[in-house]
């Protein structure tokens, strides 16, 4: 059964049409990488999936919630769909543990003990159990990003979205975040990743989608897509050393 169902989604910023009728489906437990040039619409697509960007046409259904413009439905959807951003966006006035506990407490109504247990569990999952009392400002970029992942996981989402989560990190720190993502994938999480890490996409993603000029240009099982690209645009993207 599809957890994510996208049908004919169109999105414009003023006169600029960024998504020109995108359709795709993601099955439960599937890991899908979205690749493409800057400006191809891949981040926009991801952000539309949890309503951070309103769409002009089409239909989005994630984890049983259909996206409409009313605030209520949107919040229900977001309880089930986590997103992690390139720039971490931890709350600087809260310690690591409190960053993670906030949404379970105020959105899901968890008790303090329950929220704390979730924080401990998700921090352990990203390998940062000892940082629960640390301040975000005292973390490295890689650590901050893993805390951001833990913060999303604490909501126990059905789908996780990752928007270029390693793009702001130097290579050394990229590795630790990718390892965390790989662990999540192996644990069976349904994941969509917008990424520039081709080797990672090829190895970890079950399926890879290549976006080009606001459309899904080519998609397929990752290994096949990377080893034998069918379209000229993807071949050029993969070979040209173009990001």
């Amino acid at each position: 059964m599809s957890v994510v169902r996208v049908e004919g989604v169109r999105k414009s910023y003023g006169a600029l049409e960024v998504l020109k009728g995108v359709s795709m489906q993601v099955e439960r437990g599937e890991v899908v990488a979205i690749i493409g040039r800057s400006g191809s619409g891949k981040s926009t697509l991801l952000r539309c999936l949890n309503g951070l960007e309103p769409i002009q046409a089409g239909r989005i259904e994630v984890a049983g919630h259909t996206l409409d413009s009313s605030g209520k439905g949107l919040r229900d959807l977001r309880k089930d769909v986590g997103i992690v951003f390139q720039s971490y966006n931890l709350f600087p006035h809260l310690k690591v543990g409190e960053n993670i506990m906030l949404a379970p407490r105020v959105v899901l109504g968890c008790s303090r003990a329950e929220a704390r247990a979730r924080a401990e569990q998700t921090l352990a999952q990203v390998g940062l159990a000892e940082k629960i009392e640390a301040w975000p400002d005292n973390l490295s970029g890689g650590q901050a990003q893993r805390v951001a992942i833990a913060r999303s996981l604490a909501m126990q989402p059905k789908v996780m979205l990752f928007d270029e989560v390693t793009s702001a990190l130097d290579p050394e720190l990229t590795g630790e975040v990718l390892a965390t993502l790989e662990g999540l994938a192996q644990a069976g999480m349904t994941m969509l990743l917008v990424t520039h890490e081709m080797a990672f996409a090829r190895r970890v993603a079950h399926r890879t989608v290549f976006m080009h000029q606001g459309l899904l240009h080519e998609e397929g099982p990752s290994e096949a897509l990377f080893s034998a690209p069918r379209t000229a645009e993807l071949r050029q993207f993969l070979s040209g050393g173009l990001k």
Binding site: G82, L90, H93, V106
Partner: protein
């Protein structure tokens, strides 16, 4: 007959500082509450609320406090509402404070990075929860220095209400000087009392600022 500037005159000046303090607290309390509402309205998603708040801020900031004072004292009494000077003074200073604090706090709310809104929205927080748990706590830190700066201005600006006969610090000094004709002594005392009120406020602000940054590098 010219009086000496003796202990009782000194006490009269110093003790009248209680009205300066009282007016400051009233303006800060009422003006603060109103200013907070205005700041929230100014960044509301509803355009009419934003315009209303912007209009209020523009009006209060564009008009001298003295005019607010005359309007609430003489203006309202013409309209049949005879306010005691102290009440008129409290109201006009509160309006004055609401306009400035509203604008200061709007800036503080808006200087919280938009990514904080986005991250908290993605975690399914409602708009009210975003304010309560994410945006306002960060805005408060930013707000301390400019707010304290304004409070110090407010303390000194309460002197303007002496015009409608409220005997606060400045007016008391004026009265005592008329009786003793020792302007240097009298107004040095007045200035010293203002200083003794304002300086600790600035010190407290610096302490508060340091305290709120404990454990934070930024």
């Amino acid at each position: 007959m010219i009086r000496e500037f003796g202990t009782s005159e000194l006490w009269f000046v110093v003790s009248s500082a209680r009205w300066t303090l009282a007016l400051t607290l009233i303006a800060l309390g009422l003006g603060g509450v109103l200013g907070f509402v205005i700041a929230l309205a100014r960044v509301s998603r509803l355009a009419p609320l934003r315009w209303l708040a912007a209009g209020w801020i523009g009006l209060v900031q564009g008009v001298p406090v003295l005019m607010l004072l005359f309007l609430s004292y003489y203006g309202l009494s013409l309209a049949g509402l005879d306010l005691p000077p102290l009440v008129a003074a409290g109201i006009s200073l509160s309006f004055y404070a609401s306009g400035f604090l509203g604008e200061i706090w709007r800036g503080c709310i808006q200087s919280v990075p938009w990514q904080q809104w986005e991250a908290s929205a993605a975690l399914a927080l409602s708009r009210a929860q975003q304010y309560r748990y994410v945006v306002l706590p960060q805005a408060v830190r930013i707000a301390v220095p400019p707010t304290v700066g304004f409070i110090v201005q407010l303390v000194k600006n309460t002197s303007i209400v002496s015009i409608i006969g409220v005997v606060e610090l400045a007016r008391a000094g004026h009265l005592v000087n008329n009786a003793t004709f020792q302007p240097m002594r009298v107004f040095c005392v007045v200035a010293l009392v203002y200083f003794c009120i304002c300086w600790p406020i600035s010190l407290a602000a610096r302490w508060l600022e340091r305290r709120m940054h404990v454990g934070r590098a930024g």
